[in-house]
Symmetry: C2
Subunit: 337 residues, 2 copies
C-alpha cells in the first residue's frame, strides 16, 4: 500500500532547504511513499534537483504562515498558505497525512478548522514519544493547549491510550498524570480533579507521575497540559544537548583524551543515540479527523525525515481509524465527564 | 565566624540514616559550622556514634510531619515536629539557617507562619541552581506555589535577581520568564501578563526563555510557577539519571567495552559529575525572614551534605541581609504591581 504525505515545505526555521531535502531522502529510502511538496514553487524547486515525478510532486501555495503569526489571523487571511493547503490535501483525500514544522498554534487551529475534531474531543493535543529506561512513553499535550480543564486532560488520557492500543497492540496501556508529587494531595486543582476523572474512567490509570517518572517508565501514556508538557520536553532536550556538549568537550581536551575517544567511539556512538532527540522528532496532533504531524521548528534534515516517517507510518498502519473506533467506544465516558 | 545550622533529621525518604550521617560528614569537613540535630532522640542517637559535643547537639522533637500531610494540619497539630522546631530555632536566633528534606508544602507553610515574609513578598518560592553550558542559572519557583498570579512571578523575579546580586556580586543579573515559545504572543495569560510586569520593572529582563533555554544559559534568573518549575527540574533529573544508566550499560556490555571503560574512566568521571544532580541539591525558600533550605526528599548522604553546605554558605555570606536590603529597595515596584 502506497501512502501519500503532504509536506508544508515553508514551515520551520530553515524552510525548503531542510524540508525538501528531507522529503527527497525519505522517498529515496521508502518505495511505498509519495510526497506532495507544498509551498512557494520558486523556493522549493532549487532544492528539488529535477527529481519530480510520480512519487514527488509540487503543489504551489502562494502564502506562508509566519512563526509568530496569530492562529486566528492565519485561518482568516492565509487560505493559500503552505500549511493550509497541506491540511486541505488531507481533508480532500489527496494525502493520507501531512507534516509541518511551522507555527504550532496556527497548525492546531487550521487543522481543527479544516479537519474537525473526533466526536467527544474538544481540542487537538500534541503527542510525542519520549525514551524511557524501559522503552518509551507517549506524552500529551506537548504544547497545543496552554490552559486545560480536567475534562481536557481526561480526553488526552483516552486519546493517548487509544493511540498506544492502536499502534502497539496493547489492550490496556497504563495512563498516568504528570504532577509534582506522588501523593494524591499534590498539585493544582485542575490536576487533582483530572486525576479523579481518570480514576473513574475505566482506563488503566496508575496515578501521579512526577517529572522524573516519565523517564523511569512509570506509565505508557503521560497526560499533562500543553504548557507544562512543552517546558518538560524542551528542558529535557536542552539538558541532553548540554550533556552531549560536555561529553565532547571532555574527550577533546587533549591528545590523550582524543585517543581515548577514538577507542571509545563505538560505545559512545550507541550512547549518543540515546541522547539524540532528533530521532524522536515528529509529534502527532491527536483528536483530529486526519493525520497531522508536527515537526520541531529547528529540525534538520535527519530530524525532519523522522517526522515524515512518523506521518507515513501512522497512515500505513491505519492508526486514525483505530483511534476513532476507540474514542467512539469511550463516548459514554466523555459525555459523563 | 561560626554558623549554626538546625537540621530536621526526620524529613526525607530515609530520615536520620541519611540526615545524621550527612551532618556528621559535614561537621568533620567544615570547622566553622555547628549543627543542631532536631527530631526523635532515640532515632537520631543510633547514628550519632557518641560524637555529641560543642559542635554537634541534639534537640528532641516528639513529632514528625508526614510526607503526605496537609500543610494546614501540620501547622495546627504538630507544634513539636522536627520540622517546626528546626524553623523555630532560626526564629529564636539559636540557628542561622535550617535544612529539611521533608514535605515541601508543610515546610513552606510552617516557615511562612513562623518566620514571616519579607515586606512586599506574598509567598516563599523555592530557588535552586541548575548547571548551564555557560555556568549556572537560578530557577524559581520549583514547587512551592502551584498556582501563581503575574504579581507572584514578578516577586520571584525580584527575589531571584536580589539573590544573584547578593551571592554573585552582579549588579544587574539577567532575568527571563519560562515560556513555551520565544515570541511575546506565546504562553498562557498569567505568563504574558507577568512578562509585561517584568518588562516594566527595571530588572534586566531578557524576555521568554524556553525549556531548553535554561540549559543554554539564556538568563541568570529564570522565573516560573512552581508546578512547571518542579516538573522541569524533575524531568531533567530523570533524564540525566537515565542517560547515566545507558552510559553504564553500554560500557558494561562485554569484556571489550569494559576494557574501553577502564581506559575512558578519568574522562567519563568528569562527565558524570555534570550529570550528577546530587551536586546541586539544596534549594532556598526565598522571601522569608530567615534561611530555610529544602533538600530533595530522596537525598542520599552526599546529596544532603550539599544541602547543609548551601544553608551554611548562605548564613556565612549574609545573603539574607543582602536580599532584604534589595527587596526593600524594590518596594515601590512591588506596591505598584
Amino acid at each position: 500500500m502506497t501512502v501519500t504525505v503532504a509536506i508544508d515545505c515553508m514551515g520551520g526555521d530553515h524552510g525548503p532547504e531542510v524540508t525538501v531535502r528531507a522529503a527527497l531522502d525519505f522517498v529515496r529510502k521508502r518505495e511505498d511513499v509519495r510526497v506532495i511538496l507544498v509551498g512557494l514553487e520558486d523556493k522549493i524547486r532549487p532544492f528539488l534537483m529535477h527529481v519530480e515525478g510520480e512519487r514527488i510532486s509540487v503543489r504551489h501555495a502562494s502564502e506562508v504562515v509566519a512563526m509568530d503569526e496569530s492562529p486566528a489571523l492565519a485561518i482568516r487571511n492565509k487560505k493559500n498558505s503552505s500549511m493550509r493547503v497541506a491540511i486541505d490535501l488531507v481533508k480532500l483525500g489527496e494525502a493520507d497525512a501531512c507534516v509541518s514544522a511551522g507555527n504550532t498554534g496556527a497548525l492546531m487551529a487550521i487543522s481543527r478548522f479544516v479537519l474537525k475534531m473526533l466526536p467527544g474531543i474538544d481540542r487537538p493535543a500534541i503527542c510525542a514519544m519520549l525514551p524511557t529506561v524501559t522503552g518509551h512513553a507517549h506524552v500529551l499535550d506537548l504544547g497545543a493547549n496552554v490552559d486545560c480543564t480536567p475534562e481536557h486532560l481526561l480526553q488526552f488520557g483516552i486519546m493517548g491510550a487509544s493511540l498506544v492500543s492502536a499502534i502497539e497492540h496493547k489492550d490496556r496501556p497504563t495512563v498516568g498524570i504528570l504532577n509534582i508529587g506522588s501523593e494524591d494531595i499534590k498539585g493544582n486543582e485542575v490536576v487533582k480533579r483530572a486525576a479523579e476523572l481518570l480514576k473513574e474512567s475505566g482506563l488503566n490509570f496508575v496515578g501521579n507521575v512526577e517529572g522524573d517518572g516519565i523517564y523511569k517508565g512509570k506509565a505508557e501514556v503521560v497526560v499533562c497540559d500543553g504548557f507544562v508538557g512543552n517546558v518538560a520536553l524542551k528542558a529535557s532536550e536542552g539538558l541532553a544537548q548540554m550533556l552531549a556538549t560536555f561529553l565532547r568537550q571532555e574527550f577533546r581536551r587533549n591528545f590523550l583524551t582524543k585517543l581515548v575517544a577514538l577507542i571509545a567511539l563505538p560505545v559512545l556512538k550507541k550512547f549518543i543515540m540515546h541522547v539524540d532527540h532528533r530521532r524522536y522528532n515528529g509529534a502527532t496532533l491527536l483528536g483530529l479527523k486526519g493525520i497531522v504531524v508536527k515537526s520541531h521548528g529547528s529540525a534538520d534534515v535527519f530530524s525532519f525525515t523522522n517526522a515524515i516517517d512518523r506521518a507515513a507510518e501512522e497512515a500505513r498502519t491505519g492508526v486514525l481509524a483505530r483511534i476513532t473506533e476507540r474514542v467512539v467506544l469511550q463516548q459514554p465516558l466523555l459525555e459523563s465527564a
